[in-house]
Subunit: 372 residues, 2 copies
Amino acid sequence: MNISAIKHLSVEKPILIISESLVRENIRAMNKKALRNKVLFRPHFKTHQSATIGEWFSDEGIHAITVSSLDMGLYFAEHGWNDMTVSTPVNPKQIHRINELAAKISLNLVADNHYTIQKLNESIQSRVGLFLKIDTGNSRCGILPGNKEEIMRMISACNTNPDLHFAGILIHSGHTYCAENQTEIAEIYHRDKTFLTELKDYIEHVTGNSIMLSIGDTPGCSLVEDLQWADEIRPGNVVFYDLFQWQLGVCSHDQIACVMACPVIGVYPERNEAVIHGGAVHFSKDYLLSDGQQIYGLCGIADENGTLQIQENCILEKLWQEHGLVSMPADQIRRLNPGDVVYVYPVHSCLTVDAVRNAITTEGKKVEFMLK
Amino acid sequence: MNISAIKHLSVEKPILIISESLVRENIRAMNKKALRNKVLFRPHFKTHQSATIGEWFSDEGIHAITVSSLDMGLYFAEHGWNDMTVSTPVNPKQIHRINELAAKISLNLVADNHYTIQKLNESIQSRVGLFLKIDTGNSRCGILPGNKEEIMRMISACNTNPDLHFAGILIHSGHTYCAENQTEIAEIYHRDKTFLTELKDYIEHVTGNSIMLSIGDTPGCSLVEDLQWADEIRPGNVVFYDLFQWQLGVCSHDQIACVMACPVIGVYPERNEAVIHGGAVHFSKDYLLSDGQQIYGLCGIADENGTLQIQENCILEKLWQEHGLVSMPADQIRRLNPGDVVYVYPVHSCLTVDAVRNAITTEGKKVEFMLK
């Protein structure tokens, strides 16, 4: 990320710096892969929650999106997005909000149980598509792919209300985040392909209708070449990537498209540490583990061209509510004064963006976010 | 916490439930202790960030507060608070915002280095009080108490601008949070007392002026009886407490004054788990460790009177961005349906409140927060 255009920025409080050019490259690369595989790219907008960044997707021809809550859906509907999937399973107490959103746009919902589908059946007033969530090993939400009797019972339940349309099956292979290496991620996708194409064929055979197969997580969609067996992919984190994806081998460090700029508020050469204004309420508390040490971020230092280079020996080691503790080599500490800026790559960009909601681009343009 | 007045609440999305009566009791108890010890109670408002809860403090006669950022200071100034300390050390790039706030209210700042004090000296235009931060073992910010030469140099530097008034010395003994038991917390306070009363006497002797000694962290202020050696105390978390304080032995479970209400979105009896809408963007990711297991929250179940009782076998075990995974005994899982509400006590109330900013009282009253 090149920060030369903003290197004299006076940082009053923690702010996220976003490289528009890197974000656009990340979007383009994933979109090309989707086109190669003839799948729809329906990016997850929970990572950025930003109307500004939504426009960059729109510039690349993206028209369908994923969101993680009805509030987020309503925000993006207000910004012109009219085809979306809310991927967090339905809370039946939100039916009136679902009807509100479904009246405005083309909406898909996700459920994994008969009870919720029954509730939707009783109350849906505008057409919605329903995806059944399948659990292929993540053990969060979803019905097991072998449980065909229950799957068919749920699909049948969809069809008693003409506004509730069974759209297909959907997975989130979040267990790719726990993979030890890239081979393991490829193996997860290979198993998913086997389970899901078999299940899709079965459902299409029984119902006589063709259905969608929706997949999506950034590690798998970034690393696996063959995605043709799916109909759509929903990666979100790809827009920024982060240290977690970097550690997992999913991206290179120069694909990471956001960094936190934090003012220094204390310098302690005697312990090779600085304290920054930038804490848990800005970074969130996700961490990497390295030799048993928790790492909440790594600093970037600009080279002579203004391009940030990750410094693996400049570590955000501790976070309190508003403070962060950075350890760094003696020669770097000696150059710091309170008021100077430290750039810190976040471990988990989705949570950092959600927490900080205050950003500019490397060209100094303001980025708009959904309000909390 | 008694939730009988809101037991039929339809929970559309995660919401924090606050017991006004417990909050008022927690405030009153700490205020009484401050009065017994003849110290000023200057509560840290970073925990709640709420004008509504600020009024409950005001009702108890509290008039001076602590905040953790200038933004928070400006928010509470707009709500009538006119005596505050910003406890996060000064970022010299915020001088114009400091001047803006100092023109409106009685403001104290914190610094621990000559460079920052010099910057303040050059630019402060309205009277501010300056506290020197002393590091008594927390190893975050602060100058070591034995470094008297540098301390006196900084105090001298305060006095070249008549608007910059040296107010005293300030500590945050955050290392009480790492104590193994209550005895260790008492020992930390005993050492603090020794260091700081000696330092205070020294400064008063050299300068000929009396100064303030400001201390504050919730574990110490809650557990230690003798606080007379200080002039003011600044605990924040005391307003709600949380599971962390409970595990540390600082509060009883029935002093915890907030709980998250989260809708169930999936029920999995085969693995004794439920998934709730309630994730890292609501709870934050602070955790307790219990036998090596990370615990992000514990559920409360209402007894026949509507009083929540902590269930140590109902555990928020995993958090993703919007989802949380709760494990619970089979008989409880069997009673759950999607749309039902699970009450989860947060591990760290400060971060949960900062993340969720959506709350009602147990009587159903809306609680207002500072916007992010």
